[in-house]
Each structure stands twice: as structure tokens, then as C-alpha cells.
């Protein structure tokens, strides 16, 4: 060895000799280290730092024949990401990249330096962590890279979990689409003991191809990474211009080097390809020629002619030419790609396709080589076909897998976006919107309706079928038992029942009186014509009357005056109750009547109170329940304000109509009345009732009753009819009847007196509400008198003195005599007929008169015999008219006929008569 051309005395050799002990002591100059000639540099040599030598040079295990040169030095637990990047660097032949990286990339741990790249790519530090299959970690990256090559995505995913030694080798190029192709053949071979040089060569060639592509990707990644703003917390210097400059510098350098490398690689590849092609072509040519020869031999047993051989050779040449052209990247690439793959292949970038094809060919060649040179043409063909088939199959499988992976990745994009607690939270919100504090508020109508229906059908209310419906039907239903569709019916029924009771009472009375009085009226309808109505009654009165008046005629007037006084007193007392002290003090304010709007608003306010009351009444008000006292107090307050709201305590003269009467004007006022009456205290109710009767003529249904005396169907009439019916139902039957059940006879007398005092009893009796009210009063009185008379002792009603009865009777007499001259006028039909002029008279329907007949029946039952006679006389024609009309069949409508018969009999039965007794 010479150094700068000088002879070095062969020092090296001498040193060796010295070490090995072959030193010749004699004749040779002894060299001692550290003396004259030695410069001492040896001492400066560092001999340490060898501990990593094994790792560096791969001397760990026994180095066998099958040493994997391409194998990664890095251990297996390094993340795929990292391995990929390092591999790329290595395959680039560009390991110094790291040293050129910014300082923070040179961190002692190579993990950080290379995973930084991945951090940039996926933006989240968690995304580098492996996450099950087809994890979402690299979604971002996938999307970007998928644009360049659709199949990259699946590779980068699949590469990690399967880590066979072979895949290890493939790991550096996980973004290569050819992984699976490659892994079919070489994997098979790697399972064999050792590998041939050819195999290793093939592998190296393949990796060369891959690395040719890799730089482009790398470049792309780098550009992408640069394009993104790196997360500041990871790259404190990333924002600085110097950092960017540096990066760009690196990039430019890389690009230049990569270009050079690519050039080299391409050249190499071309060469390789040419060689490979040649080989293949030769094989093909041979086979083709063999085929041709075979054919020729078959066709012409004499052997091929020269021309034929020439033609064959020419053909082969042409084919070769063609093939060459096809091999060029620009050529039709579909030539070799199997038909089913064409579609997907078109999406691939050119180089990838080419690479695939090349690899396929390599694999094919390898395959052929492995199985030895095929002996026969058929075998060869079969092998080739088999190889092609396998490739195609592999590609198809690969395609399928890729699609599946892509799909899964797409679907799982938003996996685990929400945690379970998020979902629970949303469920809670949804449920909370359905649940309200009062579940009956939202669905109150339906719930209550069902409750009513069930009650009507006699079914037990369902047990707590919706969260918390406590007992109450009660709210806003008015009096229990007043059920919707049954209401109308029950009203009529109650009326009828009332009449029936009166009649029965009357009958019973008669029975006790004996047959005599019964017979006294026999034939009355038929033969009374000749009799004076004055004469007979008196006799009967004097004979049968149970009254003390029988003492003498002279005292009758006296008594009457007495009774008069009594009744007047009672009336005054009632009125005083109504008017209160305010009347006496004259300190009331005279006002205008309430406006319609005010009335409506007040009524709605009262409704609110009633509903609140209903809500309270749903609770148990008995003593032992907690909070019952407060509720009772609250209830009391509400009832009081309801009473106040009715304005019944205002003086009668306050306005005309009185505010309370105004409140009864609108339909809803009438509807409200029974519900208020239901909760009022007894004394409050009596006052209200008295006020109602006192101001009866102010009522809309009384004042406007004349509208009903018409056959014309006008909206006004219709409205009035509606109001009248409502009044009859809600006010009279439901409320007044209810109130009257607690009224004494004395009070009844007072009420009747009040009515008479207005001097308008005839007017009142000519209206339907008036008739109804009078009927109720009379029937109640009848009931009171007779239950007392017959149920002595066992009676719970307040003691009824004889005096009270007499006072009542005299008041009744006065009423009777007041009405007597106008009896026929009580019938609406009569009034209508009278109003109608001439012959175009329409016959009013009978049902109009029902109220009048009912009232007259109650009068008849209450009346003394002379009064009864007077009744009969006055109504004889009317009765005969009806009975004859029915019996002679003049009335065509059967319903009308029935109605007439029924009405007449209602009246006649009260007099112990029947329409059948009338001979026509």
C-alpha cells in the first residue's frame, strides 16, 4: 500500500508478523510504538461504541444463505407509519433526509421524528394508534391519497395487522397496489427452504419498481403536509418563516435527487423489462412456431414448405414488434389486463398499471421457472393459462377486498362520534318533551272522555292507565250524573217523572177521599155544558175541603187576608235577603247594564274559577288528608269569589237588566249557571234563585219569548229557541230544581208571591221558561204538601204547619184566578193561530204546547174541585179538539198524533180523567 506514492517499509506486514509472533528478532529493526517513528495517532483512535455493531451489521443471529437483505432493521413494534417513512427514505437512497430536517425532527427518539409526519397527516395524535380493523384513524389521509390512487387506502390499512416476514418486506411499500399480487407468488416461494438468487433478484427488481413510484408519493405527502398548517402545539417553530424556507429547501433538494434517481431507475427498469420481454417473447415465439409447425404438419404431412416457414417467421416478427410497442407506457394498456379488471384498471395511474403488469409477468416467469421448464407445449400452455388465471383471480379478490374496505371506511367515518352518554342525553331530552307536569293537561279531553265513556258503560275506570290520573272525572263536568249525550233525555225524563208523581199523588189523594169525589167529575167532559161553573165548585168545596175554611164563609176573607199577609211577609223577607242592607241605605250606584263584551269576559273569569275549583275538588277534602285544610280554605275563597262574580248581591235597581241577569244572557252563561249553583252555599243559592225570579222578565228568554210565537224560521227565532232550550235545561232543570229541593213551602210561597207581585204573571206564564218555572214551583209544593201529609213521622223534611199549607193554598188561588181568564193563551199554538190571518194558517206542531199542558196538569192536581171545574170548562174545547182530531184520523202524522194524545192525557190524568173516556 502506498501513501502519497511513498514506500512505507511494509509496515503493515511487519506489524502482522509482530502480532502473530513471527517476529525475527535478529536483523530487523525493532519498532516500538510510541517511540521515534510512531506519530502516536493510534492512541487517539476510539475503540469504543461497538455495542451497536451487531444491530448495525445484522450480526445478531446466524447468517445463513437466506439472509434477507431487504429486511428492516427496525423492530416489529415500531408503528407502521414510522416504518413506512423510514423505509421510503431508505429505498430512496436518501437517508440523509433526516439530518436535513429541522432540529426538532432530530429528537433522540426516531419515533417522534417520523411519526410527526403522520401527525401532520391525520391531525390527531390518537390517529396513529392502531384501532381495530379499518379504523378511522387515517381517514383524512386516505381521502387525500385515494384521489391519487384508489387502492392505497386499503393497503395502508391492511399492512399493519398482518406482519409476516414477507409482509415485513412489503411494509416499506405499503402504498403499493401490487402487494397482494406480489404476496401470492413470492410468499409461496418463501415458504420453501431458502430462496434462489432469481427470487431475490425478482424481489429486488420489484422493490426497485416500487421505489420508483414511492418518491412521487413521498413528494406528494410532503407537499400536503406543508400545505396543512401544522398544529402549533406540536410544532412551535412551524409558523416561523425560517422553518418554511428550510422545508422548501429540503423539498427542492429531494425533488432533484428523486428526479435523478428516477431517471436511473427508469433506465434500469427499461433494461430489465427488455430482458424479461425478450425471454418471454422467445418462449412465446417458440410456442407459436411449434403450434404452427404442428398445424402445418397436420395439414400437410409432407412438412412445411419454405414459404410457410417464412410466413410463420414473419408473423412472429410482427408479433414481436407489436408487443414491443405495447410494452411502452403509451401503448394500449388494456391488452394484457383481463377484461373484468379493465374498469378498475382505468382508474389507476399509468405507472401503477404498468407495474402491475410487470409484476404479473415477473410472477409468471417465476412460476414457470419454479415448475421447471415445461416439457410439452400443452403443459406450457396450461401453466401459462393457470398463471394468468391465478393473477386474474388475485386481482379480482384484491379488487373486491379493496371495495369492501373502502365501503367500510366510508360507513365507519362517523363511528363513535357520539358516546353512549351523548345518546342517553338525547333520549332524555326526547322523553322530557313528552312528559309534562300534568299529563292530563295535554290530553285532558281524551282522558276525561274515556273516563266518562267507561263510566257510562258501567266499567270500572282503568287502573292508572296513564301515569297519574287521579280519581277525578269531576272537573268541569258539572253535576255528576249529567252525562253528555244523555243530558237532553234526562231533562225530559225528569220533567215527565215529576208530572207522573203529581198525578199519582193526586190519585192517591182521591182514593182516600173516597169514591164520591171521583164520581163528581165523571162525565165532566161530556156533560158539563149545561152546568154553571160557579155553582158546582162551591158545593164541592164546602163539602170536601179539608181546610179550616169550612168553618164559615165569612171567615174566608179573613183567612185570606191573613195568608196574604203571611205570603207578603215571606216575600219581603226573601226580597230583603236579595237586596240586603244596601237597599235600605240607598247607597248603591245605578249603572248602565253590562256590555256584551263585559258579560263575556266576566263569564270567562267565572269559568276559570270553576275550573280551579274542579281541580281542588279532585283532591280529597276530608279531614285527615294533609293539606286538606288549606284546600278547604282555598275552596271557600273560590266559592266566595264565584258568588261575588255572579253579582247577585247587587241591588235589584242597579241596572236593567240586572248584572246577574245579564250574565245569564249568553249561552255560556246559562251553561255556567248550574256549575256555579252546584258549589254555592245554600243561602247564597237561595238569594241567587230569588234574584232570578224577581228579575225573571228581564231575562232574554222571557223578554224575547214572543219570537217563538211564530212559524217563520228566522235566525233570531232559531237563536231564541236555542237559548230557551238551554235555559230550560241548564238553569231550570239542573239548577233551580236542584235548589228547590232544599226550599221550604214557606219559601215557595214567598217565591210565588214575588212572581205575582211583578204583576206580570200572565206575561210570564205566556213564555216557555215562565211556564216551566211555575210548573216546577207547583210540583215542588205539591210534593212538599203531600209527602208531609202521608208520611207523617218518618219525614225528614222540616215540619210543615197547617198554616204554611193554607198560606200556600191562598197564594195558589190568587195565581189561579189571575191566570184563569188567559188559560188558552198559555198555549203557543193558540197564540200563533190567533196571530195568523186568514186561511193560510199553518197548524203549529203539538210539541210547542207540551210545557203548557204540563203546567196545567200541575195546576189541575193542585187545584180544588171548583178550580178543576173551571179548568175543564176553560179548556174543554181545546181538549175536545185534540181528542177528536186524533180519533177521527185528521192528524196524518202518527208522531203528532201520539204527541197530542200524550199532552191531553197529561192534563186529564191530573184530573183523574183519560182521553179514552171521551166519546166522540
Amino acid at each position: 500500500m502506498s501513501f502519497f506514492g511513498f514506500e512505507q517499509n511494509d509496515l503493515e506486514r511487519e506489524k502482522q508478523q509482530f502480532i502473530s509472533g513471527q517476529v525475527k528478532e535478529d536483523g530487523l529493526a525493532e519498532y516500538t510504538w510510541g517511540e521515534d517513528s510512531y506519530d502516536g495517532l493510534g492512541d487517539a483512535l476510539q475503540e469504543g461504541g461497538d455495542d451497536l455493531n451487531d444491530e448495525t451489521f445484522g450480526g445478531v443471529g446466524e447468517v445463513g444463505k437466506d439472509f434477507d437483505f431487504t429486511r428492516q432493521v427496525l423492530s416489529d413494534n415500531v408503528p407502521a407509519e414510522l416504518r413506512r417513512t423510514t423505509a421510503v427514505q431508505q429505498s430512496n437512497g436518501f437517508p440523509q433526509e433526516r439530518s436535513l430536517s429541522p432540529p426538532q425532527k432530530q429528537a433522540p427518539s426516531s419515533y417522534t421524528s417520523s411519526s410527526l409526519q403522520s401527525l401532520w397527516d391525520s391531525k390527531s395524535p390518537f390517529s396513529v394508534l392502531p384501532r381495530g380493523f379499518a379504523s378511522t384513524s387515517r381517514v383524512d389521509d386516505h381521502h387525500v391519497r385515494a384521489a391519487a390512487s384508489p387502492d392505497l387506502l386499503s393497503h395502508s390499512q391492511s399492512a399493519y395487522p398482518t406482519f409476516s416476514p414477507f409482509a415485513d418486506m412489503a411494509a416499506p411499500v405499503t402504498h403499493s397496489p401490487a402487494l397482494s399480487q406480489e404476496s401470492i407468488f413470492p410468499r409461496a416461494s418463501s415458504q420453501m427452504e431458502g430462496r434462489t438468487l432469481q427470487e431475490i433478484e425478482a424481489e429486488m427488481r420489484a422493490s426497485a419498481v416500487r421505489s420508483r413510484e414511492a418518491p412521487q408519493l413521498r413528494q406528494q405527502q410532503l407537499l400536503q403536509a406543508q400545505a396543512r398548517t401544522p398544529p402549533p402545539r406540536l410544532h412551535p417553530h412551524a409558523q416561523s418563516p425560517r422553518f418554511h424556507q428550510l422545508q422548501q429547501h429540503i423539498l427542492i433538494q429531494q425533488q432533484q435527487q428523486q428526479k435523478q434517481q428516477q431517471q436511473q431507475l427508469q433506465d434500469l427498469q427499461e433494461q430489465l423489462r427488455a430482458e424479461e420481454l425478450e425471454r418471454q417473447l422467445r418462449a412465446q415465439q417458440i410456442s407459436q412456431l411449434q403450434q404452427q409447425q404442428l398445424l402445418l404438419r397436420r395439414q400437410s404431412p409432407s412438412g412445411p414448405t419454405l414459404a410457410e416457414i417464412q410466413a410463420a417467421q414473419h408473423l412472429a416478427q410482427l408479433q414481436q414488434e407489436q408487443r414491443r410497442r405495447q410494452r411502452s407506457p403509451a401503448a394500449d394498456q388494456r391488452y394484457h389486463v383481463p377484461q373484468p379488471l379493465q374498469e378498475s384498471a382505468q382508474f389507476l395511474p399509468q405507472n401503477i398499471q404498468m407495474q402491475q403488469r410487470l409484476l404479473a409477468e415477473l410472477a409468471q416467469a417465476e412460476f414457470i421457472r419454479e415448475y421447471g421448464t415445461p416439457q410439452t407445449q400443452e403443459e406450457q400452455e396450461a401453466l401459462r393459462a393457470e398463471a394468468v388465471r391465478k393473477i386474474m383471480e388475485a386481482e379480482r379478490m384484491e379488487e373486491k377486498r379493496r371495495r369492501k374496505a373502502a365501503k367500510i371506511a366510508h360507513m365507519s367515518r362517523y363511528n363513535d362520534l357520539m358516546t353512549q352518554s351523548d345518546k342517553d342525553f338525547i333520549t332524555r331530552i326526547q322523553v322530557s318533551q313528552l312528559v309534562t307536569q300534568d299529563p292530563y293537561l295535554e290530553d285532558w279531553y281524551c282522558q276525561t272522555w274515556n273516563q266518562i265513556i267507561r263510566a257510562k258503560q258501567g266499567l270500572q275506570p282503568e287502573e292508572q292507565r296513564v301515569l297519574t290520573f287521579d280519581s277525578g272525572v269531576g272537573v268541569g263536568l258539572g253535576i255528576p250524573g249529567q252525562r253528555p249525550s244523555g243530558r237532553k233525555l234526562s231533562a225530559v225524563q225528569r220533567m215527565e217523572a215529576q208530572v207522573e208523581r203529581i198525578v199519582n199523588n193526586a190519585r192517591q189523594r182521591e182514593k182516600e177521599k173516597g169514591l164520591q169525589s171521583l164520581s163528581s167529575l165523571q162525565g165532566a167532559l161530556g156533560k158539563t155544558a149545561g152546568r154553571s161553573y160557579k155553582a158546582a165548585p162551591r158545593q164541592l168545596l164546602q163539602v170536601d175541603s179539608p181546610r179550616p175554611a169550612a168553618n164559615g164563609d165569612h171567615s174566608e176573607d179573613e183567612y185570606k187576608t191573613d195568608f196574604e199577609v203571611h205570603a207578603a211577609k215571606e216575600a219581603a223577607k226573601l226580597r230583603k235577603g236579595v237586596l240586603g242592607e244596601m237597599h235600605d241605605e240607598h247607597n248603591f250606584v245605578r249603572r248602565d247594564p253590562l256590555t256584551h263584551l263585559e258579560v263575556l269576559a266576566i263569564i270567562e273569569h267565572l269559568y276559570d274559577l270553576v275550573l280551579q275549583l274542579g281541580a281542588i275538588e279532585r283532591y280529597d277534602l276530608s279531614e285527615d288528608v294533609e293539606g286538606a285544610n288549606e284546600r278547604r280554605e282555598q275552596r271557600k275563597r273560590l266559592v266566595d269569589s264565584l258568588y261575588e262574580g255572579l253579582r247577585a248581591n247587587l241591588p235589584i235597581e242597579t241596572s236593567n237588566p240586572h248584572p246577574f241577569i245579564s250574565l245569564l244572557g249568553p249561552m255560556k252563561g246559562k251553561v255556567l249557571f248550574p256549575r256555579v249553583a252546584h258549589v254555592l252555599e245554600e243561602d247564597q243559592l237561595l238569594i241567587v234563585l230569588t234574584l232570578l225570579i224577581t228579575c225573571l222578565t228581564q231575562l232574554d228568554v222571557v223578554a224575547g219569548a214572543h219570537l217563538l210565537d211564530s212559524m217563520e224560521d228566522t235566525p233570531e227565532r232559531r237563536d231564541m229557541e236555542r237559548q230557551t232550550n238551554a235555559f230550560q235545561h241548564y238553569v231550570l232543570i239542573v239548577s233551580v230544581l236542584h235548589a228547590l229541593q232544599k226550599v221550604t213551602l214557606r219559601e215557595l210561597t214567598g217565591i210565588l208571591r214575588l212572581l205575582r207581585d211583578q204583576g206580570q204573571i200572565v206575561t210570564i206564564a205566556r213564555t216557555k221558561p215562565g211556564l216551566d218555572l211555575l210548573f216546577l214551583l207547583l210540583s215542588r209544593a205539591d210534593l212538599l204538601i203531600h209527602t208531609h201529609t202521608y208520611d207523617l213521622g218518618a219525614d225528614s223534611t222540616p215540619q210543615l204547619s197547617m198554616e204554611d199549607v193554607e198560606v200556600w193554598q191562598s197564594e195558589f188561588d190568587l195565581m189561579f184566578s189571575a191566570l184563569h181568564p188567559h188559560l188558552t193563551e198559555l198555549f203557543p199554538s193558540e197564540r200563533i193561530l190567533r196571530a195568523q190571518s186568514g186561511g193560510s194558517a199553518q197548524i203549529p206542531p203539538e210539541h210547542m204546547d207540551t210545557a203548557a199542558w204540563q203546567f196545567l196538569a200541575s195546576v189541575g192536581a193542585m187545584a180544588s174541585l171548583p178550580q178543576q171545574q173551571m179548568l175543564v170548562t176553560a179548556l174543554r174545547e181545546k181538549v175536545l179538539d185534540l181528542v177528536i182530531g186524533v180519533k177521527k184520523g185528521w192528524v196524518a202524522d202518527s208522531e203528532e198524533r201520539d204527541m197530542k194524545t200524550k199532552n191531553v192525557n197529561t192534563f186529564l190524568h191530573a184530573l183523574k180523567l183519560d182521553s179514552s173516556q171521551i166519546a166522540v
Binding site: 256584551h596 263585559e598 263575556l600 269576559a601 270567562e604 273569569h605 253579582r647 249568553p666 249561552m667 255560556k668
Partner: protein, 96 residues
Amino acid sequence: MDPAAPGIQEPFDLIRLSLSERVFVKLRGDRELTGVLHAYDGHMNLILSEVEETILIVEGPDSGKANGTVNVAKRKMEMLFVRGDGVILVAPPSRT
């Protein structure tokens, strides 16, 4: 008790005053109703009874012109739900 109408704060309170009273309802498509109001809600959905509907049908050349004849069709219904999106106004009937 204040004599002035209490508790009227919003338009719906006025409709409430007409509950169980006869009302006049004007609807889209030249329709008018009168009927007794039994229910309403925030969408102006209504339930009416004893309803009489009046439909104005304008016929003739270029409907809407003065010489076009106006036909009135009426019909009655016992009980009717009216969807609120067609309601233009709800008013008490004009009182004479």
C-alpha cells in the same frame, strides 16, 4: 270585581270570549262560516257546531270583473273541525 273586562291580554283572549257563542269565521277561498265555537287552539284550529258555510263563487268573463256573477252556495254541517291554516278571521257575529 272590576267591571271592565278582565284578563284580556292577547288576541286569543278575545276568541276565548266567544267560546260556546256563535261566531263568524272568514276563510281562504271565499268561504265564510257561522257556527257555535266549542274549541280553538294556537293554530286557530276550530271546532264549531251548527255550522253554516257560505261559499262565494265568482263566475263570468275573467272572474273578478264587475260583470261576473257571484253565486252563493250554502250548506249546513252539524259539527265541523276547521283547520287553522285556512282561517282569516274569527269574529262574533254582527249584533243587531
